[in-house]
Structure formats: structure tokens, C-alpha cells
């Protein structure tokens, strides 16, 4: 078990180190000092509301990454998180602004509506996948485009939009539907729904490791043929996992909407879905890995503003994010192979069997 833990830590650590070295080289080549750049970024955390922003972003990234990870377990690439969370946020904001309920109940209804809307947006790709074999990457990307168009349409002032200042928003959610945060004064406010992300990660970890559903999901991803022989209904799993992924994606916009904006606005943030895919890769679909991946991502995202102050282009942080994901994929594969070879060696020594692993691998 210890060896397993070591190997699951080894890959991401190697990847982050490799990515850092890569970025350092880029910085040196472009004539900047990597030490100064890193110092500026770390120093930035103490400035203003950056620390709180990092915490809040971490929670949002976690939700997006969990949504991606659910699909990844089955080798389903849900590229549609971007569209699903947008639709989820928009529908939830419209519904939340139209009803009045007691506080906690109001939040719950909004959250459930968001999840249902996100799942609904994943339904079409799921159905196309199991009935017509349409690859989910293609259908979800197209659903993203439709989601953007739909959102732009629904927020028009002749639909659900109203003019607030010089911004167009949906009807504001009444205070009973607003989730209070932790107010740290000048440092900012931590969203109350940060805890939603923590709960989601815990539930996700439990479902994956402890339930029949999680087992069937993992088995389908590891070996569709073995899963089928073991009685797992592949089509059902595809539909269920895409819908659950969409439902979690639907929640991605909730911390900001219920904790800060209290409406869907024209400035609604985009890009969380794609970040989530990268973070799920970085965290190897593991809840703790995803939490740390999200934290790292949020740090790079929020602290990169400081780079401009020391004369370094802040795009270096984006390079770093990309390099980390790429190297973690490579590093994980290398570590996995090393692990398997080591285990075969161990089993070979323990049992005295002389079977060539290459013969097995060749099959």
C-alpha cells in the first residue's frame, strides 16, 4: 500500500518539477530571472484579496475537475463541461430569481436545478453515443457552441435579461437564495459553497472506491470487455456517467452566482470547464489529487498578475499549466510501467516462476 501511495505521488511531483524546470528555461531564455518571478508570484498571495480568491477558485476548479474525472474513469472525454456549467448556471439563476423559499431550501432548489440543467445538457451526447455511436468529444463540443448561443439569447433583455448599471443580468436571486460566505474583511469573502466542493470531492471518493456504481464505472474504463463479461451494462454506464458528469458540471458556476453575483451576468466567467479537464488529468482522477491540482491551478491563475510587475510576461503561468498537464500524463505512464515491472519482479521472485512479461505484453 505504501508503494502505491509513493507511486501515485511520484508522478505528479515529477511532473510539476519538470514543468517548473521547463518554465525556468523559458524564463531564462527570454532574459528573466526565474527566482524573481517565483518570488513575485508567492509574494502576490499576501496582497489584497488574492489568497481568498485562490481558495474560491480552488473550489470552482475542483467541481469542474470532478465532473471531468467521472467521465475519465470510463474513458469518456466530457469536453462539454464548459457548456454544461453555463447552462446549469443560467437556468439555476433564472429559476432562483423567480421563486422565493426559506433560505436553506432555496439554495438546495437552485443547486438541484443547476445539476439537472447540467445533466440535461449532457443527455443528447449520451443518447447519441449509445444509439448512434457518435463520439462524445464531437457532440459535447457542439453542445458547448449551442450553450454559448443559448445563453446569449436567453439573457437578452426581451427574454430574461434586465439592465443593471451597464451590465445585463438575470433577475437577481432574493437574499433567501444567497449563500452567505465567510467574511474576512479586507481580505475578501470565502464563498459558502467552497464546502460544496469539499463535500462533492468526499462523496466522489466514496462512490468511486466503495460502491458498486464506482466499481462498475472503473471496470468499464479499465477493460470494457471484462466489464461486459462481468455483467456491467456498458450503455447504461455511458449514459449514467455522462449525466452525472453533467450534473456535477452544472454546479461549477454556483459558488460565484450564489456567493457573489446573485445573478447570471454578461461577465459570467468562462474556461472553468477546460481547466477542469486539465486538473482532472493532473490529479489522476483522485479526489485529493484533484484538490491539490485545483489549488496549484488557482495559485498560478491568481498570482500571475504579479509577473507583469517584475517585467515577466504573465503568459508564462499559462505555459506552466500546459507543461504540468503534459508532463504529468507522460510521468504517470512512465511510473505506471516501472511499477508494474517492479511488481512482476517481486511476484517472480516470490513465486519462482519464470514467465517473460514481454510475452504477456505482446498479446
Amino acid at each position: 500500500m505504501n508503494a502505491r501511495l509513493r507511486s501515485s505521488l511520484l508522478a505528479p511531483v515529477l511532473a510539476v518539477v519538470f514543468a517548473a524546470v521547463l518554465c525556468a528555461i523559458v524564463l531564462i531564455v527570454s532574459g528573466a530571472n526565474p527566482g524573481t518571478a517565483l518570488g513575485a508570484m508567492i509574494g502576490q498571495v499576501r496582497e489584497g484579496q488574492v489568497a481568498v480568491d485562490i481558495v474560491n477558485s480552488t473550489a470552482i476548479y475542483m467541481l469542474a475537475a470532478l465532473a471531468a474525472a467521472i467521465g475519465f474513469h470510463m474513458n469518456l472525454l466530457n469536453i462539454g463541461i464548459e457548456g454544461q456549467y453555463r447552462v446549469g448556471a443560467l437556468v439555476a439563476a433564472i429559476v432562483g430569481g423567480a421563486i422565493v423559499l426559506p433560505p436553506v431550501l432555496h439554495w438546495l432548489v437552485i443547486l438541484i436545478v443547476a445539476a439537472i440543467a447540467g445533466a440535461a445538457w449532457a443527455t443528447l451526447p449520451a443518447i447519441l453515443k449509445v444509439t448512434r455511436g457518435v463520439h462524445e468529444v464531437i457532440s459535447t463540443i457542439m453542445m458547448n457552441a449551442i450553450a454559448f448561443g443559448l445563453a446569449a439569447f436567453l439573457i437578452r433583455r426581451d427574454q430574461f435579461g434586465i439592465l443593471v448599471g451597464n451590465n445585463v443580468t438575470t433577475e437577481p436571486i432574493p437574499s433567501s437564495g444567497q449563500v452567505p460566505g465567510i467574511d474576512l474583511g479586507s481580505k475578501g469573502t470565502i464563498f459558502g459553497l467552497v464546502f460544496l466542493a469539499v463535500i462533492a470531492a468526499a462523496v466522489y471518493g466514496m462512490v468511486m472506491n466503495r460502491t458498486r456504481f464506482g466499481f462498475e464505472l472503473k471496470a468499464s474504463g479499465l477493460s470494457p470487455t471484462a466489464a461486459a463479461a462481468g455483467g456491467v451494462n456498458a450503455k447504461k454506464m455511458i449514459v449514467v456517467s455522462l449525466l452525472v458528469s453533467g450534473a456535477v458540471a452544472g454546479l461549477v458556476g454556483m459558488p460565484e452566482i450564489l456567493g457573489r453575483d446573485h445573478a447570471y451576468t454578461l461577465n459570467f466567467a468562462s474556461g472553468y470547464g477546460f481547466a477542469g479537464i486539465g486538473i482532472a488529468l493532473l490529479g489522476r482522477n483522485h479526489p485529493v489529487g484533484i484538490a491539490f491540482g485545483s489549488l496549484l491551478w488557482a495559485f498560478l491563475e491568481k498570482a500571475k498578475g504579479a509577473l507583469d510587475n517584475v517585467g515577466v510576461p504573465k503568459e508564462i503561468a499559462t505555459i506552466m499549466q500546459g507543461a504540468i498537464v503534459l508532463s504529468v500524463v507522460v510521468a504517470y505512464e512512465i511510473v505506471k510501467r516501472m511499477e508494474l515491472a517492479a511488481e512482476q519482479r517481486r511476484v517472480g521472485q516470490a513465486t519462482g516462476t519464470a514467465i517473460a512479461p514481454a510475452e504477456e505484453a505482446a498479446k
Binding site: S223, A228, A229, G230, Q344, A354, I355, A356
Partner: protein, 520 residues
């Protein structure tokens, strides 16, 4: 009719001191092998003994860690198979590498266009050579129309065309029925007379004794010795291979009862375009009975098993287990109803290779005790029961937390069998249960199947190993092109009779029973 002229010629191939290490295991250690020109030299050994690794080294697919290779007296260092081909060595793999939608001629010339072009000259050469490998058909025939034996001849033709004089045949008879094996051997004898040298890899000892001029036995990665097939018995050979007492699949007294466990009626499976893969099949398996299904691979056995398991959806027909109609049930429901399933390819269908053994115990049992409680997994229960299987079925492993991939084939299979016999199944479907496992594990697997049968389990056994089929079964059905063409009584039938029936050449009496000892 083993040819006896022993010619003392210079060796075609000499391997000396070959050692090859893989992480943790030594696949070959200090192997010595001398193959004379113009002989059929057999290389015998159990699965996993290191035969394939040795041949991959000779064919340039893997470099040896130590040792020398000499071809026709000259030392060589192959970096890739193309070096080996240039030195006159060709290899016919066990699994054919042919493009179905190309003709024989195109398949042969493909990748060797530089030798004789692709025009009339190439056609002439292919025509001339086709006869010497016993291929008497138009080179413009599409390969998809060819039977297994002819496909193999095309494979041999391919290596001849590339100028091979030394030909490695990797388990060439594994896919052939006995009659086709005889034809292949006749071809090999003719070609040997023409000066070709063969390295014949096999673990079928009777065949090896029938064809080989000398036999080298390999065990646990090293050569045990080279013997003359005329002076050695099959039993001695087998003991050289195994190094211990030999198992036999014989089942003693009958335990068949009257209780029908599995009833299949008119089962039909069709492809998308309406071709019948299974054609109105009827069968019954009783409690305590082993029903064997014989057939050349690809005649519907895989489809039959997968349709009974609910992995494929039948077009019509019924499947009943203990009177319970399972025709519309999914795979999981069928498993829960009491079917254990040993799939033909354990690595693809039986195991999650990267998962630990205890997680593999859950597969197929994710809804039942002791591995699950309701929607939750019972991991402690799964671990405990995995330990029981490891102990009871002698799975050689340092623990239950290792990945399934790190076990040897035989131990993986024992784990699968242990799992599929848990939960008191009523029916066990076993597809090639001893394929690719060593002799020791094979004997253990036969014992487990026999014990389960004695305890009242119904067993549907599909196997390509006719000795296993005859030895274990209480009755046998022969399958050809998706139909049952004959029944056979294992007490009287010989592998040759079965082989005839499998190719459609057998005779059946009016009750459908195969006439044994018939005219050949």
C-alpha cells in the same frame, strides 16, 4: 513415416549461451541450440518456458543480453527482423498476419515489392513457389475465402518469397484439425527434401515426434537437452518438459443426473446483415454433467458462449437455467441466477489487469455477498474471499494486493476459476479453461472442474484441446458453421474422428451420433 536419412551437414543455426533477462525474470538462460541444414528441428516446452522469447531473439525482434548466434557458420547480430530475413530466416507466426481483402498474390508481395516488382515477374515467382508449399489455387483468390490451412500456406509462401531458407514455425498446428496437420507435415517433408530447414515450435508431443528429425526441449528458460525422436517416447519427452509426473484429463465414473440445469432451445444469432452465426441450436446440460463442444475455432463456439451469457443478443430461441427463463435477462442477471463464466481470453474478458487481485474478485460479483452489500462494496469481504481462493486454488502470489497482470497465465486462470466457482453456481461455462497455462496449472484446473462436476455442477466446456475435451466430457457436440453437426461419445471417440467431424467429413448415424473408427 519419419524420414531416416541423417545427413551430416554444417549447422544452419547455432545458438550458444543465449541469455535474455526481463525485469525480474530470466526468460532465457544459457540456451544452446544447433539446427542442421535441411532438418525439421522441434523446440518443445511448456507455455512460458521461453520458446517464443528464444525465437524472437533468433528472428531479430529482441537482442539477446548474452550469447552468440551463428547462421550458416557466420556470426550475426540482428537488429531487426529485416536483418534476419536478409540472412535467410523467416518466421510464420501463430496468429496470421494477412490482409483479408487482398488476394494471395497481393498478400505475398506486400512489403516485398522491391524483390521482383508487382507485375508479371512477381506473379510468376508466386505461382512457382505456391506449388512447393502445397497451395494449389489461383493467386488472385481473395484471402478471406481461404480456410485456415491455406492461410497458413500463404504465410509460409510469404517467407519463402522473401528468400528464407530457414523457417521458424510458431505453433503451426494449434489452429489445424488433425487431417490438416497431416497435410502440413507432408508439405514440410517435401520442402525439407528441397533443402529448407525448419524450426518447429510446439508443445504437442505426438506431432513433434511425427515430424521432427531432432527435438530440443526447453524448460524454465533453459535447454534441457536435444533428443532423437526415434529413440524417445512421448512420455519421456513430456517428463523432460515438465520435470515431474504427468497429469491426464481422464474423468472416471459418471456423475450425470436427470436434473436439467441448462436448456437451450432454437438459439439463433445473426449478424447485422442477417447471416446466421448460430443456427437454431438446442442443447441440454444436466447437473453433474460436462458437455463438451468441439469445433475448429471460428465456427460459432465463442458466439454460443457469449449468447448464453447474454453478452450477445440472440435473434430467437430460449435459454433456461433450472427452469428459469433467462432469454431476456442481461449478463449480470444470468450470473446472479447461477452461471459461472470462464472466458476464453482471461486477459481481455476475465480480469482487470491493472487492479489488485481482490478487486478482480469483485468483478461479476459486484451485487452479491461476500463482495457487496446493497449498493456498497464489501472490501473486507472481498479481500477475505480472495485469500480463500488464493489458498484453495493454489494461486501463486505474494499477496492479494498485487496487480493481476503480474501473475503468470496459469495463476491468473486459477484466480478466475476460483472466482467463477464461488457463490455456488449451478452452471459453469468454461471456454478453453487451460489455454496458455502450464502443465501443473492445467492438472489443477482439470481437478477443480472434476470436483465441481462431482458436486453436481453442470459444465459447458468449449475447448480446442481434443484430449481435454474427450477426457473431461460426459458427452460431446461437434459444431460446424454455427450448427451442431454430430454428437459423440467420449468413451469411444478418438481425436481423429472428432477432427473429421469438425471439418464436416464425419459420418453420423440416424440418431445424430458420430460413427467412430470410420473410413478415413
Amino acid at each position: 513415416m519419419t524420414d531416416t536419412e541423417v545427413v551430416t551437414t554444417s549447422p544452419a543455426v547455432t545458438l550458444s549461451g543465449i541469455t535474455k533477462r526481463f525485469p525480474g525474470v530470466v526468460a532465457n538462460s544459457d540456451v544452446h541450440l544447433t539446427v542442421r541444414t535441411g532438418e525439421v528441428h522441434a523446440l518443445c516446452g511448456e507455455n512460458g518456458a521461453g520458446k517464443s522469447t528464444l525465437m524472437k531473439i533468433l528472428y531479430g525482434m529482441q537482442p539477446p543480453d548474452e550469447g552468440d548466434i551463428e547462421v550458416n557458420g557466420r556470426q550475426v547480430h540482428f537488429k531487426s527482423p529485416s536483418d534476419a530475413i536478409r540472412a535467410g530466416i523467416g518466421m510464420v507466426h501463430q496468429h496470421f498476419m494477412l490482409a483479408d481483402n487482398l488476394t494471395v498474390l497481393e498478400n505475398v508481395v506486400l512489403g516485398a515489392e522491391g524483390l521482383y516488382g508487382i507485375g508479371a515477374k512477381a506473379r510468376g515467382r508466386v505461382r512457382g513457389m505456391a506449388r512447393s508449399v502445397g497451395l494449389y489455387l489461383d493467386p488472385d483468390t481473395l484471402v478471406e475465402r481461404l480456410g485456415v490451412a491455406d492461410r497458413q500456406r500463404v504465410e509460409i509462401l510469404k517467407v519463402l518469397y522473401r528468400g528464407a531458407k530457414i523457417i521458424i514455425l510458431d505453433e503451426p498446428t494449434a489452429v489445424l484439425v488433425p487431417q490438416e496437420v497431416d497435410e502440413l507435415f507432408n508439405t514440410l517433408r517435401t520442402m525439407r527434401a528441397d533443402g529448407y530447414t525448419f524450426l518447429f515450435i510446439s508443445h504437442k508431443l505426438d506431432e513433434v515426434r511425427a515430424i521432427a528429425d531432432s527435438i530440443t526441449v526447453i524448460r524454465r528458460g533453459t535447454t534441457v537437452g536435444t533428443v532423437d525422436p526415434k529413440t524417445v517416447t512421448t512420455r519421456q519427452l513430456a517428463e523432460m518438459m515438465v520435470g515431474s509426473e504427468l497429469p491426464s484429463p481422464e474423468t472416471r465414473e459418471s456423475t450425470v443426473t436427470d436434473t436439467v440445469v441448462l436448456q437451450v432451445e432454437g438459439l439463433t444469432l445473426e449478424t447485422g446483415d442477417g447471416r446466421r452465426l448460430l443456427d437454431r441450436l438446442d442443447l441440454q446440460v444436466r447437473s453433474g454433467e460436462v458437455l463438451g463442444i468441439a469445433g475448429v475455432e471460428g465456427n460459432g463456439q465463442t458466439e454460443l458462449v457469449e449468447t448464453i451469457m447474454g453478452i450477445r443478443k440472440a435473434a430467437s430461441g430460449r435459454v433456461l437455467l433450472d427452469g428459469q427463463n433467462l432469454t431476456r435477462a442481461g449478463t449480470l442477471a444470468r450470473r446472479e441466477a447461477g452461471i459461472g463464466y470462464i472466458p476464453e481470453d482471461r486477459t481481455r474478458h476475465g480480469l482487470l489487469l491493472t487492479e489488485p487481485l481482490w478487486a478482480n474478485r469483485i468483478l461479476g460479483y459486484q451485487t452479491r455477498r461476500p463482495t457487496a452489500r446493497g449498493a456498497f462494496l464489501d472490501i473486507a469481504g472481498a479481500r477475505k474471499d480472495t485469500r480463500r481462493i488464493v489458498e484453495q486454488f493454489d494461486v501463486r502470489t505474494p499477496g492479494i494486493d498485487v496487480a493481476a497482470a503480474s501473475l503468470s497465465g496459469g495463476n491468473q486462470q486459477k484466480l478466475v476459476i476460483g472466482r467463477e466457482l464461488s457463490g455456488e453456481p449451478k452452471l459453469l461455462i468454461a471456454s478453453h479453461p487451460t489455454r496458455g497455462v502450464d502443465v501443473g496449472a492445467q492438472a489443477a484446473i482439470w481437478d477443480h472442474i472434476r470436483d465441481a462436476r462431482a458436486a453436481g455442477l453442470a459444465v459447458l466446456l468449449v475447448s480446442a484441446d481434443l484430449d481435454e475435451l474427450i477426457g473431461l466430457s460426459d458427452s460431446i457436440k461437434v459444431m460446424l458453421r454455427g450448427k451442431f453437426v454430430a454428437d459423440a461419445d467420449p468413451a469411444t471417440v478418438t481425436p481423429e474422428d472428432l477432427g473429421s467431424a469438425m471439418t464436416g467429413a464425419g459420418h453420423v448415424d440416424e440418431s445424430g451420433l458420430l460413427v467412430t473408427g470410420g473410413d478415413e
